[in-house]
């Protein structure tokens, strides 16, 4: 009896091993075309330290893929299976060894029992380091009004590990807005929580986060889109009374707009909201604040308010800036318009200055500011040295491209795009050289990207780099938000 069981177990293990073995290329037919792989990593540029670019054939009929990567400087990697799954340590070694060079990828695929070898393609390894541990983002279903599970997460870019910073299912009814760090510093961040346990969470250093009252009537609402002053004392916020309406046709789904919006600066030391009538004008909608990297200017967008829903496509935001004095916490008196988008029949949103002070990357749409529902939304780059602005054709797509952020050395940026399927936003990375030319973007790597992204019914939202892992744990943060007292802010009007 014992031997019988032993034989059954042996046969079972052998069967598992045999099933786990994939075929090797034989009688290979050469095909004069590049392989159609998912994600499209053909000709992309990557930084040293990024997780392995695993991929599959886009064609579901491909049963096995056999991939060999050779470095221009040296080294080789091989993978064979349902998808190309590279050993992480070997991958990192290969990429490190070929910094500044390229990796040539040879792909063979077995389709309907026949092996085909495609043209080799390169993956370029940048000389510019990423210098970031990972990224943070919000993941949320791209739904209309009701949201179920959503949360803030962080992801180690050197592997595939993701952990939750805060998930709304730990505190029912909670909705969390974008997590915003100061120059990718994980010790200083802010985000807004809506719902029963509403608060604006402000964290500086090792002290416990401060929880501000979620709504302040004197600013007309809650603190929504934040951006830190590089000095760390101030944080600019917009306050938005946001509404949605839905299209019955026109190949569009949703219009998101603000019934009112303003921009103000919050002093984290005195807990004071600094209102300035210069950027809080009644007939104008100010939005999307961002400090310049030297802290001397506050950039923001502004539009003449329209009547909704009739004039929904007439609200067009310009990009402006106003001087800011960090020693007094006061704004200057002169507003400069950097991009008069309304004159061109366009609208500017989400200005993000590069940390080296050279560029401002922004999203341009035909109207409005909530770019994720605008398929025409593209990334543009304003060169602050020349004053010239151009579309980033190297990275833009036919779907919405937006929610971008820079890494600390301003050589890399990340953004979300709906190019994958037209609805679910995914994160992409690209680099910018000293002349402002961007490289072909690559999608956030996953262990098995085809299966992962295909099954994922969530959108990535407001991603940003983080220099180090954020130590806050989801459950602890949730309990803290539920139990801690809210701080009343003081409002000072200029």
């Amino acid at each position: 009896m014992r031997y019988q069981i032993q034989h059954i177990i042996q046969a079972f293990l052998l069967a598992i091993i045999l099933v786990g073995c994939h075929s090797r290329p034989t009688d290979v037919v050469r095909v004069d075309q590049l392989p159609d792989i998912y994600p499209d990593y053909v000709g992309v540029t990557i930084p040293v330290g990024i997780a392995s670019l695993n991929f599959s054939m886009a064609d579901d009929n491909a049963t096995t893929i056999d991939v060999t990567i050779k470095g221009s400087v040296g080294g080789m990697l091989h993978a064979n299976g349902n998808y190309a799954d590279f050993d992480l340590d070997d991958w990192h070694q290969l990429v490190r060894d070929n910094k500044g060079g390229k990796l040539m990828v040879t792909v063979c695929a077995e389709i309907d029992g026949k092996w085909m070898q495609y043209q080799d393609f390169p993956i370029y390894v940048s000389r510019d380091d990423l210098e970031e541990w990972g990224i943070t983002y919000r993941r949320i279903p791209p739904s209309y009004e009701i949201y179920s599970k959503m949360g803030l997460y962080q992801r180690d870019l050197s592997n595939f590990e993701e952990s939750a910073l805060l998930e709304n299912n730990q505190s029912p009814g909670m909705c969390v807005n974008c997590h915003t760090a100061n120059r990718t510093n994980p010790d200083q961040y802010t985000f807004h929580v809506r719902g029963k346990y509403g608060a604006t969470v402000v964290c500086k250093g090792q002290k416990p986060p401060e929880l501000l009252e979620p709504v302040n009537d004197s600013i007309g609402g809650s603190m929504v889109y934040p951006y830190w002053h590089p000095g760390g004392r101030y944080c600019a916020y917009s306050t938005n009374k946001t509404t949605q309406i839905f299209h019955l046709a026109r190949n569009k789904r949703i219009e998101v707009y603000d019934n009112s919006s303003d921009v103000f600066v919050y002093d984290t030391e005195t807990k004071t909201i600094l209102k300035d009538t210069l950027i809080m004008m009644g007939s104008w909608a100010e939005n999307c604040p961002a400090f310049s990297p030297d802290g001397k200017y506050l950039y923001y967008t502004t539009a003449i308010r329209q009547t909704y829903p009739n004039d929904f496509d007439k609200e067009r935001y310009n990009l402006c800036r106003v001087p800011f004095d960090a020693s007094t916490g006061r704004l200057g008196e002169q507003v400069d318009t950097l991009i008069a988008a309304d004159k061109m029949g366009k609208s500017v949103t989400w200005p993000r200055p590069s940390y080296d002070g050279r560029y401002i990357m922004y999203t341009q749409t035909d109207y409005g500011y909530f770019s994720i529902w605008h398929p025409e939304a593209d990334l543009w780059l304003l060169d602050l040295q020349t004053g010239e602005s151009r579309p980033l054709k190297e990275v833009n797509s036919a779907s919405s491209d937006s929610f971008h952020n820079w890494n600390t050395n301003s050589r890399w940026f990340l953004f979300t795009s709906r190019r994958d399927d037209g609805l679910y936003s995914r994160i992409y990375f690209a680099s910018v050289d000293k002349d402002g030319k961007a490289t072909k973007p690559f999608m956030l790597p996953q262990r098995n990207p085809k299966t992962y992204y295909r099954r994922l019914l969530y959108s990535y939202n407001t991603p940003d780099f983080t220099a180090r892992r954020i130590e806050a744990q989801s459950r602890q943060m949730s309990r803290y938000i539920e139990k801690s007292e809210r701080i009343n802010t003081i409002v000072k009007t200029e």
């Binding site: 739904s143 209309y144 309406i245 299209h247 019955l248 046709a249 219009e255 994958d420 399927d421 037209g422």
Partner: protein, 310 residues
């Protein structure tokens, strides 16, 4: 589980589960109480299946807790067989320790977020929804005389139209209620150039999605299907919603999106065949012309006026 889509399979699954429950109970009684008379054991072995059958009849309680209990019973039974040489007290303690082990194994798959009638919908709505899906228009129009639910009321109007007892024009006049013209809530309200669509529960939202497609409103059908998926209390996703989203993606020309949804549905038990039959339409959209149902909806979508709805 939408068992009514295939009642034969559903009956087989339930019968198998209940027989398994009876068998495991009988086995456990023999293992724990070997001196119990056969007659008592036989009678007692029917208690869990009867309780499970009663629980399964409550529409708000999912099937997963029942399966978790069966899993526990099975594990305890196997443990009792394996530990037959152990002392009696050791077997009892071991069996008790299996409860937390089983809980640890099964908890990710168990639905804890049971919802009540308010969220899931009334029995009337569930029944009407089922009849709508089975296109039993005669029964809908004959059965629901006094409707408390706006969704059921709307379904009856559609049933009258579908059975030829109401013209398309009359249907529109009845279904699109001018805002503020009556005290009772209704599904579709019009006024001020905006269409307001209301649904009260998860089930009625499903019905609204079905009805919107019948009224040539694919974007409303899409909206309702999306919202209903987010309305599911345990954060799960709905294959029925994904099926509807596939249809609306095809109608509105979002083929890569439809492909994604089909890939998900092809991995499901009840929707695989449908997904496989739809794949050619997504890979070669020109084939949609051969499907009058989708072709007509595509045409209506392309030519309809774009007003807003909320």
């Amino acid at each position: 589980m939408q068992f009514f889509l295939n009642p034969f399979n559903a009956a087989l699954i339930y019968a198998a589960l209940l027989i398994l429950a009876q068998y495991l109970t009988s086995r456990l009684l023999r293992q724990f109480f070997p001196n119990l008379k056969d007659t008592y054991r036989f009678l007692l072995s029917w208690v869990p299946p009867v309780i499970m059958w009663r629980v399964a009849m409550i529409p708000y309680i999912p099937l997963t807790p029942t399966i978790a209990v069966l899993l526990l019973m099975g594990m305890v039974s196997v443990f009792m067989s394996v530990s037959s040489q152990w002392p009696k007290w050791g077997r009892w303690i071991g069996a008790c320790l299996l409860i937390p082990v089983c809980y640890w194994l099964a908890w990710p798959g168990v639905d804890y977020d049971w919802s009540g009638e308010k969220q899931m919908g009334t029995y009337e709505e569930m029944e009407c929804d089922m009849l709508m899906r089975m296109k039993d228009w005669h029964q809908i129009s004959d059965k629901y005389r006094v409707q408390e639910s706006p969704a059921v009321e709307c379904a009856v109007q559609l049933a009258l139209y579908q059975t030829g007892r109401m013209s398309r024009e009359s249907l529109y006049q009845t279904i699109y209620v001018p805002r503020g013209s009556r005290n009772r809530p209704s599904v579709f309200n019009v006024g001020g150039g905006i269409l307001t669509v209301n649904f009260g529960s998860l089930t009625s939202a499903f019905m609204v999605s079905d009805m919107a497609l019948m009224l040539d409103l694919p974007n409303v059908a899409q909206w309702a299907a999306f919202e209903v998926m987010e309305y599911i209390p345990n954060y799960n996703k709905s294959a029925r919603s994904i099926k509807r989203l596939t249809e609306t993606a095809i109608i509105t020309g979002q083929y890569p999106l439809a492909k994604k949804y089909l890939s998900i549905l092809e991995e499901t038990l009840f929707y695989r065949k449908w997904a496989q039959s739809m794949r050619p339409l997504v890979e070669q959209p020109e084939l949609i012309k051969e499907k009058p149902y989708y072709q007509q909806l595509k045409k209506a979508y392309a030519t309809s006026e774009d007003i807003f709805f909320i």
